[in-house]
């Protein structure tokens, strides 16, 4: 597996939320494959939790981006955190937070950025930058 294909996070949400965000990352950066998409559609809480956990285990990713703070993907991830304290959850995800996080872990060419071991701190920093992009103007 090349460095470029490493998955850095799981994106999970309602409907096609995750697919949409990742397609935007792909269009902007060509690096959509750094994320795995999951939808909660048709899934009960146990199935959803199992799928998120399975995606984390299969990819080695430790970060889950979700849409709503109260959404079922968020609740499922919080349950996972009960036994997996290394898992980091970021709610209210948007395309900016995905790209900021991606480029804090991997360079734009896909190689790991050296010396960065605190994934939670990187996710938190990415969330803060993304929050600053949520701006209303005009009217």
């Amino acid at each position: 597996m090349s460095e470029r294909s490493l998955v850095v996070a799981v994106v999970a949400g309602h409907g096609q939320f995750a697919d949409g965000l990742i397609s935007a990352v792909e269009q902007i950066t060509g690096r959509g494959s750094a994320f795995v998409a999951l939808t909660n559609s048709g899934l009960g809480p146990s199935e959803l939790e199992a799928r998120i956990l399975s995606s984390l285990d299969q990819t080695g990713a430790r970060v889950v981006f979700t849409d709503l703070p109260a959404g079922s993907c968020t609740m499922a991830t919080r349950r996972i955190q009960r036994t997996r304290s290394d898992v980091v959850l970021v709610t209210g995800a948007n395309v900016t937070v995905l790209m900021e996080f991606l480029f804090s872990i991997q360079s734009p060419l896909g190689t790991p950025v050296g010396g960065l071991t605190n994934v939670a701190a990187l996710a938190s920093a990415a969330a803060e930058k993304a929050r600053q992009t949520l701006v209303a103007t005009g009217g």
């Binding site: 899934l43 609740m75 919080r78």
Partner: protein, 163 residues
Amino acid sequence: MSLLLHRIDDRFIHGQVVVGWGQPLELKFIVLVDDDVASSDWEQELYRMGVPPGMDVYFHSVEEMTTRLSAYQSDDRVGMLLVGGIDTMQRLVAAHESLRTVNVGGVHHAEGRVQRLRYVFLTPPEEAALRDMQTRGVDVTAQDVPGTRPVPLNELLTSRQDG
């Protein structure tokens, strides 16, 4: 009556509940009734984190709720009764004749269940429990979010979806 929705949803508190129904109903509180959740501080904290500011959530066992339902029904605020399983709602309906409507909002895939709608899968005993509630005079419909059509129980139980 201030409990505007009596909902069965195995995901308990999630987007459809706090936003999908919460916004149009201007929901101010949720009464979550479940014996397991009522006995787990951790579960309660999890669901507390899921409700937005301005919305309260209360937790009760089924037994506690049978004595407290009328107090919630006379609360000035708009509320929702939320249970995770059909059996729980059946027990509440059996104990309270004032529960005249039941919303099947989400019963998802599990072994032994047959898919009736995109968001409703039922075992034969669960179907019998819903019929029992209907026999008691309860209007049982399936509806995940306010913008979709409520599906009457008779139609729900004759629907079948594959995959």
